[in-house]
């Protein structure tokens, strides 16, 4: 298990400390992603803490999703170090394959355009998320085929975890229906539940409130906050709905044209003139709030 991407936590003393002192879960240093001549993300560094909601905001095309894709291994960053410290072990995400990041480093994500398994049932979606655990329990299929008891118990446990998350996102009644037939808002919630079923230490949500109505948006905010408070995991959140971001984020990072232009608490970011400028195009001293800030609590 001591592959090239893991390192002893003790040997990694040169990491910057998290601003809140909660202990850094993820530290991104000098992340740069180039696609040919296009620089999508340039020299971005930030830290995300344990049991904190870190929001990444910015205008369209600012490079937010690219940061996510680098973190979850879908892109290999051109430059930069992405270190995830799980306490007992640390991982260098930039060296890992996408599925290994999910499996070993336990970073889970959702997608901007929902990616469920539409022809499978809601429950199956959540069971698939526990693939590696069940794979081990089924003796990599061999023992499971013969029918050892261990697999049965593991599957029951997996169903229980799935039931827990279905109850949290209010989809218990729909458990045996096809995921593709769910309404849009329910699909968004199911995707979050599925990500949580991988038992992550860092959950990356890519525009979870996109396309939701105000009531659903409020429920989503509550869900994300409860994930932070009850599971005590880190949440990275990309969101355009400023009501959600300002309402629940502990820490906000603002990107514009691939560069980090601001980093701090919601209050500090809201007052930051460069952020206002990025959103409005000019510096207007009469407008202390970014435009989204007046959206209110999504109500």
């Amino acid at each position: 298990m001591s592959a090239a991407w893991t390192m002893e936590t003790a040997g990694a003393g040169d990491w910057p400390a998290a601003p809140s002192g909660a202990g850094a879960l993820l530290s991104v240093e000098h992340l740069t992603m180039r696609f040919g001549g296009l620089i999508a993300v340039e020299d971005v560094s930030f830290v995300a803490g344990k049991s904190e909601i870190t929001a990444i905001i910015g205008p369209n095309g600012a490079g937010k999703t690219t940061v996510f894709n680098c973190l979850t291994g879908f892109y290999k960053p051109t430059v930069g170090r992405l270190a995830l410290d799980r306490g007992e072990r640390a991982f260098l995400l930039e060296r890992m394959d996408d599925f290994r990041i999910a499996q070993h480093a336990r970073v889970a994500r959702t997608f901007q355009n929902i990616r469920l398994f539409p022809a499978m049932s809601v429950l199956e979606n959540l069971i698939v998320a526990q693939h590696n655990r069940l794979m081990r329990a089924s003796g990599f299929t061999v023992a499971g085929l013969i029918g050892f008891g261990g697999y049965r118990a593991a599957e029951r446990e997996a169903v229980e975890l799935a039931r827990h998350w279905l109850a949290k996102v209010g989809l218990i009644a729909a458990a045996d229906t096809n995921a593709g037939g769910l309404p849009y808002g329910a699909q968004r919630r199911l995707e979050i539940a599925r990500a949580m079923c991988t038992r992550p230490v860092l959950l990356c949500l890519d525009e979870p409130a996109a396309g939701l109505n105000p009531r659903e948006t409020a429920e989503l905010s509550d869900l994300v906050v409860s994930i932070r408070d009850q599971e005590r995991i880190g949440v990275l959140l990309i969101e355009h709905d400023m009501g959600v971001v300002m309402g629940i984020a502990d820490h906000i990072i603002v990107l514009d044209y691939g560069r980090k232009i601001s980093d701090g608490t919601p209050e500090a970011v809201r007052a930051d003139p460069t952020v206002v400028k990025a959103y409005l195009g000019e510096d207007d001293p009469d407008l202390p709030d970014p435009p989204g800030g007046r959206d209110g609590g999504g109500g």
Partner: protein, 445 residues
């Protein structure tokens, strides 16, 4: 509105919706023109052998009849559609759904019933040599269909070269049996393993491909294997094929009228008269057992994490990666297991025929197996059975139609694709349920 009786609705319809006669006539005329263009060459011109070569003969009366039929038919269809615009399509949909529902409930009880029927079949008085042979052939295709169903139906990897694994199984069994004198039951697992190994070898280069691109590569792979078999003369004896492949024995008892010295035969051991049917029936039971093993294995593996991962991979590979599923291993196991069953079926084919040559493993075989899987409804086990019976058994039944057989076959396929584009039995049951008496683990297969 739906409860309005039929007759008044029909009398109102033309009043409300003026009959657009011009459009109807235009549609019929276009259909007639197409029929004329096609029929001019296909029906109108006929070559006859006359002394000194060929003569071209016109059959214009036939063309006229064909065009008249097409125009009249199109007119009738268009008129009917104008009279009752959505009713027809809605009703057709409803009928199709009702049939699907019926088949679904039927399928629940049909599985065990079919197994009992299959086991009892050779003991019934109908079981003459011809029927048992056809049943054996159908079962071979059912097994191949079930094997390919793992790759195409569950993992969603479109494989057009499945016959390659069938061929590898047949040849590796034949070579082991001829050169090393291995018996059928000993060589069978090896034949399956060889095919599985080749499945992994094929799997590696095509890991990144999906859909059309994968289909092209697997198609080429199937042809490569056939051409290798054709040209590697000192091993495969090329187009001459391998003959004298030993027949399977019943726990060491041979099926032969006059065995060699010191070999006991089936009929002397059981004190029966020698009948050539014994071996045919035995082969039937062998393939039945192999097919049932394939089915059991597939049903079982669908409820295991690897089976669910295959289906998830078919649905969305990127989502799978984000959940920590290793797509390489998952795809390779699908290829390997599908290939293994193809290899088993191939070994059976070799021992049944006693002779194999590359001619038995052409692309048309792959196409037929894929047609069975697609027509049956991808991922549906019972659908594969129905499709195999229809396709293989049907072509045998229609043998009397001679050259029109393929026409009927094609028409049936078009009809199925029009009415049930996702296959006869496209229904999929979840592998695990939350709401059920005693909710929890998966129900037994």
């Amino acid at each position: 509105m739906a409860v309005v009786p039929d007759a008044p609705a029909r009398s109102i319809a033309p009043g409300e919706r003026r009959l657009d006669l011009a459009a109807v006539l235009k549609e019929a005329a276009i259909a007639g023109l197409i029929a004329l263009a096609l029929g001019f060459f296909i029906i109108g011109l006929k070559t006859d052998t006359v002394p000194g070569g060929l003569a071209l003969k016109g059959r214009w009366d036939w063309v006229a009849i064909a065009v008249a039929v097409v125009v009249a038919g199109r007119l009738a269809i268009a008129l009917r559609r104008q009279m009752r615009p959505q009713a027809a399509s809605a009703r057709r949909e409803e009928i199709a759904n009702r049939i699907a529902d019926g088949v679904k409930t039927f399928a629940r009880y049909a599985g065990p019933a079919l197994v009992v029927m299959a086991v009892a079949f050779p003991l019934t008085p109908f079981a003459n040599r011809y029927y048992v042979d056809i049943a054996t052939l159908v079962l071979t295709y059912i097994m191949l269909g079930w094997g390919l169903n793992v790759v195409v139906g569950l993992a969603g990897l479109l494989d057009l070269g499945y016959v390659a694994f069938y061929a590898i199984g047949a040849y590796s069994f034949a070579l082991l049996a001829i050169h090393l004198d291995w018996g059928f039951w000993v060589a069978l697992p090896f034949a399956g393993c060889c095919a599985a190994l080749l499945g992994v070898l094929l799997g590696f280069p095509v890991l990144r491909l999906r859909g059309d691109y994968l289909a092209i590569v697997t198609l080429a792979f199937g042809e490569m294997i056939r051409i290798i078999l054709l040209n590697w003369y000192h091993v495969t004896r090329g187009p001459d094929g391998l003959s004298d492949i030993p027949r399977p024995s019943f726990f060491g008892l041979e099926f032969a009228r006059s065995p060699e010295e010191g070999v006991e035969t089936f009929h002397t051991f059981f004190g029966l008269d020698y009948q050539s049917l014994h071996r045919i029936v035995f082969l039937y039971y062998v393939i039945l057992a192999l097919a049932l093993v394939t089915n059991f294995f597939t049903l079982r593996i669908r409820k295991l994490p690897i089976g669910r991962a295959w289906e998830a991979l078919r649905e969305d590979e990127i989502a799978c990666r984000s959940l920590g599923i290793n797509p390489t291993n998952t795809k390779l196991t699908a290829f390997a297991i599908g290939a293994m069953f193809g290899g088993f079926a191939g070994a059976f084919f070799a021992t049944r025929q006693g002779f194999i040559s590359p001619e038995s493993f052409t692309f048309i075989e792959s196409a037929v197996i894929l047609a069975i899987v697609v027509l049956g409804g991808m991922g549906s086990q019972i659908g594969v059975v129905i499709a195999a019976v229809l396709l293989i058994g049907g072509t045998e039944v229609l043998r009397e139609l001679e050259e029109f057989r393929m026409l009927a076959f094609g028409a049936a396929m078009v009809a199925i694709m029009v009415w049930r584009p996702r296959g006869l039995l496209a229904h999929r049951d979840p592998t695990v349920r939350l709401h059920q008496a005693g909710a929890g683990g998966g129900s037994p297969p």
